[in-house]
Structure formats: C-alpha cells, structure tokens
Subunit: 311 residues, 2 copies
Amino acid sequence: MKDSPLTIGIDFGGTTVKIAVVFQSHIIDQAPPIATQEYAGHGELIEAMVRVVEELRTRHPNIAAIGVGMPGFVNFEKGLVYNLTNVRDWESVPLKTILQEKIGLPVVVDNDANCMAFAEWKCGSGRGFQHVVFITLGTGVGGAIIANGQMIRGARHGAGEVGQTSIDYQGRAGHYGNRGALEKYVGNSEITAAAHEAYVAAGIQKSLEDCAPAALAAAAYHGDPIALAQWESVGRMLATSVMNCCWLLNPEAIVIGGGVARAGELLFKPFKEHLFVQLSAPFKDHLMLLPAAFGHEAGIIGAAALARELI
Amino acid sequence: MKDSPLTIGIDFGGTTVKIAVVFQSHIIDQAPPIATQEYAGHGELIEAMVRVVEELRTRHPNIAAIGVGMPGFVNFEKGLVYNLTNVRDWESVPLKTILQEKIGLPVVVDNDANCMAFAEWKCGSGRGFQHVVFITLGTGVGGAIIANGQMIRGARHGAGEVGQTSIDYQGRAGHYGNRGALEKYVGNSEITAAAHEAYVAAGIQKSLEDCAPAALAAAAYHGDPIALAQWESVGRMLATSVMNCCWLLNPEAIVIGGGVARAGELLFKPFKEHLFVQLSAPFKDHLMLLPAAFGHEAGIIGAAALARELI
C-alpha cells in the first residue's frame, strides 16, 4: 500500500471540504464537496469526511496515505489543529490521530497555505528551486517559505504568514492587533472596499459587487483609470511585503497564487516595478516572479503530495 | 593542524581590521588593529592583514584555519567579496583564494552580521535554538537568520538584511531605494537626528553629540521625557520589523546586539510591549527576546567559530 502511487488530498475550506484521489499531480477522482458550515461540530464533520474517504477507497483500494490542508494554525508534527480562522468548534483537534484511527492509513495534516506551496514547489511553478517564497492572495493573504531546500515551519509551525506582516507601522490594525498587516490592504474585501471608495470619491455609482477583484480587473482591462489606479496601489503594497521577504530570505523565486492573482499583468506589472526599484543586485538579478501553476486544485494536490512525500 | 583548537578570527570594519587568535569562544591573543582607511587599495590592505596573521602564527604555530567577517556583500561559498558599503576598492575581490594562497591555511569569508550571529548561535545567547533571528543595531542595522537549525543565506548569500526591510511603504528611501527601510529610522545617526529634532522642537539646545544613542540613553535614565519618548519610538519601529520576522519565520528567539542595544531596558521595554501586542499565541508564547552575549568581540569570535566549524 505504501508503494501505491495513489494518495487522497483533502482541501478543508471555510465553505467546502474537497476530497480527491491524486496520482502524481493529477486529480483522478473527486467526491462531491462537503458543505463545511452544515456541520455543528468537528466530530460530525470528521465523520462526514471519513465516509467520503471510504467511498473513494471502494473505487481505489490502493490509497497509500491521506493529506489534509486546514485553514488555520496546525501543529504539523502532531497533526493537531490549534484553531481555524472561519470555522467554529475546531480548537485543539488531534485530526491526524482521529483520522488515522478511523481510516487505518497514514495521515498528514498541514496548514492550507503550506499545502498549496508544497504543490507549487514539488510539481508547479516553484519546482527545482531551493529558496522560494509562496504567497496566496484571496479573502486572506497566506504564504509559505522554502529555504535551503526545506519548508520553513518555525518553532510552532506558524512560519510563512506573509499576510500578517506589516507594510506600515502606523497602519490599520490586523486580526491580531498587528499594525499595517498586508492582508488588511490587499485582501479580497479590502481591495473591493478601496475601489468602492475611489469610485464614490469620483462621483461614480458602483455596487460593491462591481468593485470586487474580478470585476475590477475587467474594468481595468477596458482602460478604466480608477480601476487601473487600484491595481497599481495593490501592486505597490504587495511589493513592500515581498521586498521584505527578499531582504530577509534572498529567494530565487516568488510564486503568487489565489483568486486576486488572476488579475494577471494588471497586478504583476506594478508589483514588479515597485519591487525591483527597491532591491539591490544580489536580491533581484536572478529573481523570478511567477504566477502559481495550480488554481483551485492546489490545496488538494499539495496535501496529496505532502502525504506522498512523508510516508 | 586541522585538529588544533586554535583559529584566527578577523573582524574587518570600516575603521579598523581586528585580528585575534581564538580558543573556543575566547580571544587569547590579539594584534594591534589595522587602520582600514590608511590603505588605498584592497591589495595593500590584504598584505597588511597577512603580515599580522603571520606575526600571530609565530606565537601560535598551530592555527587550524582563518575566518573573516566583511562589512558588505559576500559570496560565502566562493569567499568572494562583491563590494563593501564603506570601504573603497573592494569590488569583486576573491579574498578567500588570495588569503589561502598567501597564508597556506583554510580560509572562510562571510558577511560580518552572519559572523556575529554565528558567535551568538554557537556560543552566545542563541545557543541551542533551531530558529533564531539575530539583529545588530549600530551605524547600520544588520541581521542574520537561523531556521531549521541552519544559517539561511538565500540564493545569493544576501539573506538576513533586517535593516533594509520596510516599516512604512510610503516612508523614507533607504540606501537601495527601499521605502521605509528600518535602518533609516533606527540607525545610529537617524536616532541622533530624530532626538536632535525633538529637542529643537521643544526649544532645548543640544549638540548632536548629546543626542547620540549613548547620551540619549543616559538622559533617559535620568528621566528626561524627550529622551524617553525617543527610545519608545525606536522600540516601536524595531518591533515592527521584528514582528514581520516573527510572522514569516516563527523563531524561538530574537537576539539583539550592537551599540544601540546597549540602551538596555530603555529600548527593550517598549520594543517588547509593541512586539507582543502584535503577535498571536503560537508566535509569542515561547518567544525569547535576548540581548547579545558578545559585544565588540562578536565579529572576531564568530569568524573564528565559522572557520572552526567549516574546516
């Protein structure tokens, strides 16, 4: 079984839990998603996850291991979920132990951003590099760090929280009282709110929906100056946190994923410009700025790859 | 010879080059310093360094290796000095190769902040930790990172430049065009200038000398409210960059050295307060904030320890 090339990846999100069978970096079978919020407690939700896994195993009996990506703080070594940002009743849940007992397969549990980074590092845009900073831009801003050819997890498995780093010591308070947290400037709803404010200031009526990143990107593609200025601003603020990562870690590559990154060159162009004028030669000459190779499926593929690697 | 416990450590500074024989973490013999600026080019200065090394070797014939800490960008693997911030005629100097040929001993060349960090990590305040961020506060602000029990040097040996990281994306331009560079706020002369400005604004005449960090610390100890407010401000700004290091690397310890750190609790108290209110539990519960164990001699001891470790 350990030699089977098949693993199951679980991408546990605030809205849905997605479970799939992965062969190398390809999803070959995926179960219908579980609606996260329909379950009152972690016990019931785990039971539902186990049922789906067992169902997939009837079709693929040779699963070698299971990897789970969780949206919150995880003790990777113990497979213990400390807490989740947007899901209730997930305090100190020994998820790895519970799943291993119920399923009888090796289980690996990690932070979702680490899983996505692992997918990119092992099979995606970050392949072959020894020093990579990975950033995911969405509702929240997550990240992960690879240095010396290893995932850097830190003392309590918390490393890589790019979204919590500050771009302004006197700025907006983040979720943890951290002034100027990047996430409070370039998170999904913060981009939306800033764009809405800019339109209102210009006397233009727009719904919040029309100010969300996807709509804002569409408007910018059509030359809307307010939308263009918003992406310029997002690029500049993102560049500050990435620049800090570069001075600290001198990476070979920055890999950027998540929904907001789908704005493409609208974001990448100002981001690159602001980044490169703020770095000296040994920090930028070789530096690759890369969009993530995987989209929605990064979490599943990364969790599955992590399981594959660690058994 | 390789088994001899004696190594020579060289601390190459903008003012003097200090050369000493080190046994474990103790300096057992030190030559008179070389005045850096008295030498027009790197060739002559290297000759002077070689003469001092040979003189020390007549008294200590069993030197196993030599370590050199340089104030600038160094290719650690090749022992190549790319350039030095404050010393002319040091562009692309293959220092390791030159010294090895002239002296006939193994030579290791690294960035000075890395050497100081190595001293602290191997024999000082950072001993026993797997994840440490080291910061030195002086004319410039330097740093080094240990993660997963390894020194993190990055793709081009540049990692650890805490002083170049930004605390304000719209802030003062640093040496490399980097907006809000920490060094531009808490470097020696920036602390002096800010204090001078604060005294002038309060209608108090002070010389720049009386506003320098040592004098400012003395004034604060005696209750001077302007001096106290300056240290509060320095602590707050330093806390922002350290907080960023914590979110990114989740270290076990922060070790702070350099002249400015001699302000002690005047700096450490506000620094700690601002840091801890901006971190969540897994980032702060275990976190140790430690003053460096070594003072002026950190560079020599670290360079010697690095030589000891790598031969």
